[in-house]
Symmetry: C2
């Protein structure tokens, strides 16, 4: 007998991990609108609006600001593959999983990463970056603004100044900051950046917003040899998104619909208001965690959109996450790489950065920890968090 496949019926999760985050129903609705062609006059208008709205959330005037047709990781590869060729040195900040990934991609582009390291959970030091720049021929410096693997927010301004001083382009990974955390591409002197659709923007994963200034556009155009990726060649992608509208690949229409709606919501809300909501929700979460006797990983520069919580000794990572998922329908994330089993990652991203979720995850965590024999006084975490929202 032929196997039968049931109608799709996903559980109603509250997604408080490292991403994807929950998607606003307005975005789901926009995504399910009927398709038009990828060169339809209506779609061309939508593309223009998406570029405008992306400029708004990136706080940039960069003409070339558009979504790459792949996830955030495709955006990372797109930026690096357009900047880095055979033999090129690149200063890469490695203080977490995603910095490591950038370093790996630099190698695959034929480049040599000059790694500037800090322990996972710490921000990079500007003086280390300067040393690497002074002792190399690097023309690109790449750092992760919001390290999703450690919950660290990297200050950008100082490194940006150093990049200029040493005539290098400054690349920032803003996957987990865009739309939720203070980010001003132009003001902070970021030359090129990639992000993801599925974190603080509350759009499903599948697109990677990218922005680059004219200096970077020129750098890419003047590079020797062809970009080794055809799919991610920004010279070709530019011709489809900008004047000319030359066919490159078929744009993911529905995902672009979704991204437009997600951006429209941020635009209506106001970016600065969003940033403040993320700060407050994170502050409340941390106060709640501390009241329960839990510590967070970063000692400073913690990331408002994602909090790395140290797993207390004697508590089994997976048991707690299973209780959260099965009893509360809440997803939080485990650690990546060297932090596997050592931290949980709790994301409060976009519409998820609200009082309800903070209280809920603290309450759920408290119960799950008690099941594991970790002593928490009932209600102390949520109570401490609620104080923050009263302020």
């Amino acid at each position: 007998m032929k196997k039968s496949y049931k109608e799709l019926s996903p559980p109603q999760r509250i997604l408080l991990g490292p991403g994807p985050s929950n998607v606003d129903p307005r975005v789901l609705k926009a995504m399910s609108m009927p398709l038009v062609g990828h060169l339809d006059p209506y779609f061309l208008e939508i593309m223009d609006e998406v570029m405008e709205l992306l400029r708004y959330v990136f706080k940039t005037e960069n003409r070339l600001t558009l979504p790459i047709s792949g996830t955030g990781s495709a955006g990372m590869e797109a930026c690096l593959v357009n900047l880095v060729g055979e033999g090129d040195e690149v200063v890469v900040g490695v203080n977490g999983f995603f910095g490591q990934r950038m370093s790996e991609i630099v190698k695959r582009c034929g480049g040599t990463p000059i790694e500037v390291k800090e322990p996972w959970g710490r921000a990079l030091k500007a003086e280390s970056v300067e040393k690497a720049l002074a002792n190399s021929n690097a023309r690109v410096v790449a750092v992760v603004h919001a390290e999703t693997s450690t919950g660290v927010l990297q200050p950008l301004k100082e490194i940006s100044k150093l990049a200029k001083k040493y005539d290098a382009l400054f690349l920032a990974d803003t996957v987990t900051s865009l739309g939720g955390v203070d980010l001003k591409i132009d003001q902070y002197g970021v030359d090129i950046s990639y992000s993801g659709s599925q974190k603080c923007l509350n759009c499903p994963p599948g697109l990677s917003p990218v922005t680059l200034n004219e200096k970077t556009v020129e750098f890419v155009k003047d590079r020797e040899g062809k970009i080794q990726s055809w799919y991610l060649d920004l010279n070709l992608i530019e011709k489809y998104w900008e004047e000319g509208r030359v066919y490159h690949h078929t744009a993911p229409i529905s995902m672009v619909y979704a991204l437009r709606e997600a951006l429209r919501i941020v635009y209506e809300d106001g970016l600065e208001k969003r940033w403040a909501q993320h700060l407050k929700a994170c502050d409340a979460l941390i106060k709640g965690l501390n009241a329960m006797g839990l510590e967070i990983l970063p000692t400073e520069n913690n990331l408002p959109s994602l909090t790395a919580v140290k797993i207390p000794e004697g508590v089994t990572d997976i048991n707690v996450r299973k209780t959260l998922l099965n009893d509360f329908n809440i997803e939080i994330g485990g650690g990546l790489g060297e932090l596997k089993g050592k931290i949980w990652r709790t994301g409060l991203m976009g519409i998820n950065a609200c009082e309800r979720n903070v209280i809920l995850v603290l309450e759920a965590l408290e119960r799950a920890l008690r099941k594991e024999g970790f002593p928490t006084k009932a209600g102390e975490g949520p109570a401490a968090a609620m104080e923050v929202f009263k302020e």
Copy 2:
């Protein structure tokens, strides 16, 4: 004053161009279901089902059969970048725009394309492929099964035998054939293939189903040096989709939901029934076009899912397409590359391969042509087409 962005409200197009095609409402509904995490137990089940259903539509037992997180063009790049490295020769069939693109990507992988050419609108000749194989060190032969730019269907069996004879892997682009046109990956001896979600599967663009047999998996694993793309490295992607479920990138959850539903529809309909519907619709379309005095480009091996219609002398390409779009909400495609301005491309893909659309596009074309001064007798095209459906 702040600019306001209107609610998304796309026109209701009938998409009879080269893709995307119209999407079944069931697929739009599935796509708009709430998200779960990319490592959620529920999503892991969905992934397994998507792989099973893809094996069904590809007619293969290949374990490694999964969607790449990008459009069909990303699938093309994924297959080539995993097979081709510095200095590798690849026999590439170039008889249209997409064959040309494969050749370009081979170069970007550091390889040397050995191009086997035919005029656009003709299928490749097996003897030319054999000559190229005999006179090169190529270990890969790449052809386009369904050339979307010319409406030619490439017979696969003979070339597949030649690939085996010369110990080369056989790669076929099945972007415009999968789910609509006779394709049996295992039986036809195709070693590796990529497709797109948005043509005969009626799923929005954004995913590229890929399948490869164990021989090809071994070939990729044994290759010297690292795959130059990290995002498209099948060794890494395999670990997420297969045993282990090791995080690589965040899967585009909603698109995977959509693809599952689209595949489920094909599975319920039956693949062979689909193929027959495409054949019949295409036959009717061509009979209608001929009755109106129009010719199609290929003299043989025409592709059931996409018909390339020669634009009659004295008729302006863009005027006709504008009439179709503005007066009838019908999209058809123009020519690509050297066929620009010389052909229209009419796709009848998946659910679009039906009597209603054939009649409608013929009727609309007739009126648009009359506006352009091209003499057609009212109703002759549709009448000839309807005869086919009566059979």
